[in-house]
Amino acid sequence: MWEKFVAESTRATREIVTDAAQFLPHLLEMLIIVVLGWLIAYVLRAILRSILRLTKFDRFSEHTGASRLLNQAALPSSSELLSRLVFWVAWLGFILLGVGVLGIVGLQQHISNFFGFLPRLFTALFVFFFGFLAASFFSRAALLAAVNADLPSPRLISSTIRTLLIILTISMAFEELELAEHTVLVAFALIFGSLMLGLALAFGLGGQDLARRYLERRFGRARKEEREDELSPL
């Protein structure tokens, strides 16, 4: 009994030791790959940084307006952002490569899935990012235009536009990720439809008076203005 136990234990231990002995080089390999990957990624980032600096990428992005958007999103400069992104993607790739070396069954599959998913993730992030920026830009543009054109409820107009754009962005991003695309689409359609209906009802019923007053004010004033002297700002 005891002997059997000892024999089993010895065998198990030997197996573990053997396994460990088999596994340890893999681990070492992985660590080396990860460290090497960090080095390579670091060098890549440095190279990219100097290339971008040499090609005056920041000025280019300033001209295209991207810098302004990044600035507003409290992100670092575009060249810095790009270098960091490359660094992380490269290093992450090496880490995953290292993990793959471990030879853990199942993990391999996930890793290849991850690499396959990566481009779409980037695209979705991209859509997200610019979608949010566009939403804030256009909602502000609408707000300013409405204020300067003396339209009623500029904030309402502005936030409506912002909401719609954000929803649109989310649905686009989800579609890109191929996640619950139908749900999102339906949700978008529902919200958009109800919003329009709500607006129609608001203007049609609740806002009847408001709408009338507004129209009166617009055209009534226009007629009155003609009798006033034009004040040229220049």
Partner: protein, 422 residues
């Protein structure tokens, strides 16, 4: 954009025929058939009367008029035409016309005129507005004389204006440009002005003909570039400024053309304006600016209302442009009832400077910054109207002078914000 792309072959041929000139009269037009004939006649009479010996050319740059404006210019150009006044020209006077693509916007027209002046080696150029209803032959003399006698490189006009005409010029453009560049140029956005060939060539070589400055507001670009480039600027009194209004004035558009362009130019001219303190008058001839006092019917209530709505509704936008104390003060003022509401000089100047600094840092879209200033300007315009409703011309002038001094006094505040973070 290369120069050859803005001068067509036909135009170039006409320029060849004109040859070297002493005086170039530029006339940008866009649907000005009602007034252009009269303007050309006045220009011709002015040239014959005051510059009979100089070689001159009238160049019309037309933005694609639909009302036969260029034909009218050419018809008035018959070189052997006998003047009704009995004046005959010593020389052939060419009047040529060419098209430029951007309908209605002066920038490309001015650039084209500068290119023509450079090619023709014009010693002096004058730009006249084709929609003027009261241009006189004397204007040519008054604008060109300081150039031809070598005492100035840029001559801007002084007009006889109604005291409530040109509120944006008086409340923002004149005081700010004066504070920035140290020269008291009353009309930094002139419709009629003259410049030397030397300045013309300099302007043509400047990087101001891009989308921002080149299409609209080129006049203010020219004034500021001349000031920043240390050219001699002079002023000449012309008379009253009569214009045909083509449509209702769009405040935001006007602000883009003027305030936007002057904010935009603060960047490239930083070395020039950051070193300037105080201001000097520029030499002027023919009397100072005068104001008329006829009462005007103006909807002051609406100005105030639009200001109030603007401050309230634009709070999120203003937050990213204005410093918190300024915004708080502004909101406090905006909360006041119409009767007691005033937009004080000090607050207005700080507002403008903070907008300029935000524009420089592009805290949000630069166009949005300019748009956000429009409602605030309405509040300032309201204040100006109310404060001067019973004032004499002199008192109004004093008020403008006070504002200018405030702009000059607070200039270090702008410099502080320019580099540092708010």
């Amino acid at each position: 954009m290369a120069e050859e792309s803005i001068l067509t072959d036909d135009f170039l041929r006409e320029l060849m025929n004109v040859g070297e000139v002493d005086i170039l009269v530029g006339m940008p037009t866009y649907n000005d058939a009602a007034t252009v004939g009269q303007v050309v006649q006045a220009v011709r009479a002015g040239l014959i009367k005051y510059f009979p010996r100089q070689r001159a050319v009238i160049i019309n740059a037309d933005g694609g008029s639909k009302d036969a404006t260029p034909e009218l210019v050419r018809a008035a150009s018959i070189s052997d035409l006998r003047q009704p006044s009995g004046l005959t020209a010593l020389r052939t006077l060419h009047s040529i016309s060419t098209q430029y693509p951007h309908g209605g916007e002066n920038g490309q027209a001015l650039r084209l005129l500068l290119a023509a002046a450079d090619l023709l080696r014009a010693g002096a150029c004058v730009v006249v507005s084709a929609d003027s209803v009261n241009i006189e032959a004397e204007w040519l003399d008054r604008l060109l004389r300081p150039i031809t006698n070598g005492s100035a490189d840029l001559v801007t006009p002084l007009y006889h204006r109604h005291r409530f005409d040109g509120l944006l010029v008086r409340n923002l453009l004149y005081p700010m440009i004066r504070a920035m560049y140290g020269k008291r140029v009353r009309e930094p956005y002139p419709s009629e002005f003259a410049f030397s060939g030397r300045l013309g060539s300099y302007l043509l070589g400047q990087d101001i003909w891009s989308e921002d400055g080149g299409n609209s507001g080129a006049e203010i670009c020219i004034t500021i570039s001349a000031l920043a480039g240390n050219f001699q600027v002079a002023e000449s009194f012309l008379g009253s400024r009569g214009r045909i209004e083509h449509g209702p004035a769009d405040l935001v558009h006007a602000m883009r053309q003027t305030v936007g362009v002057s904010f935009w130019l603060l960047d490239p001219t930083f070395p020039a304006w950051s070193a300037t303190t105080g201001s000097q008058p520029v030499p002027s001839s023919g009397g100072g600016p005068q104001v008329t006092l006829e009462p005007l019917r103006i909807n002051r209530k609406r100005l105030h209302q639009m200001f109030q709505v603007g401050v309230a509704e634009l709070e999120p936008v203003l937050k990213s442009i204005l410093a918190p104390p300024t915004l708080a003060e502004l909101q406090k003022e905006a909360a006041a009832p119409q009767e007691t509401f005033r937009y004080p000089d000090d607050l207005w100047v700080r507002t403008v400077y903070e907008f300029a600094a935000s524009y420089h840092k592009s805290v949000i879209s630069r166009d949005h910054i300019i748009q956000a200033l429009a409602p605030l300007y309405r509040g300032r315009a309201y204040t100006f109207l109310v404060e001067n409703i019973d004032a004499t011309g002199e008192q109004t002038e004093n008020k403008v002078e006070d504002l200018c001094l405030t702009f000059e006094r607070l200039k270090p505040y702008l410099l502080e914000m320019w580099d540092g973070r708010k």
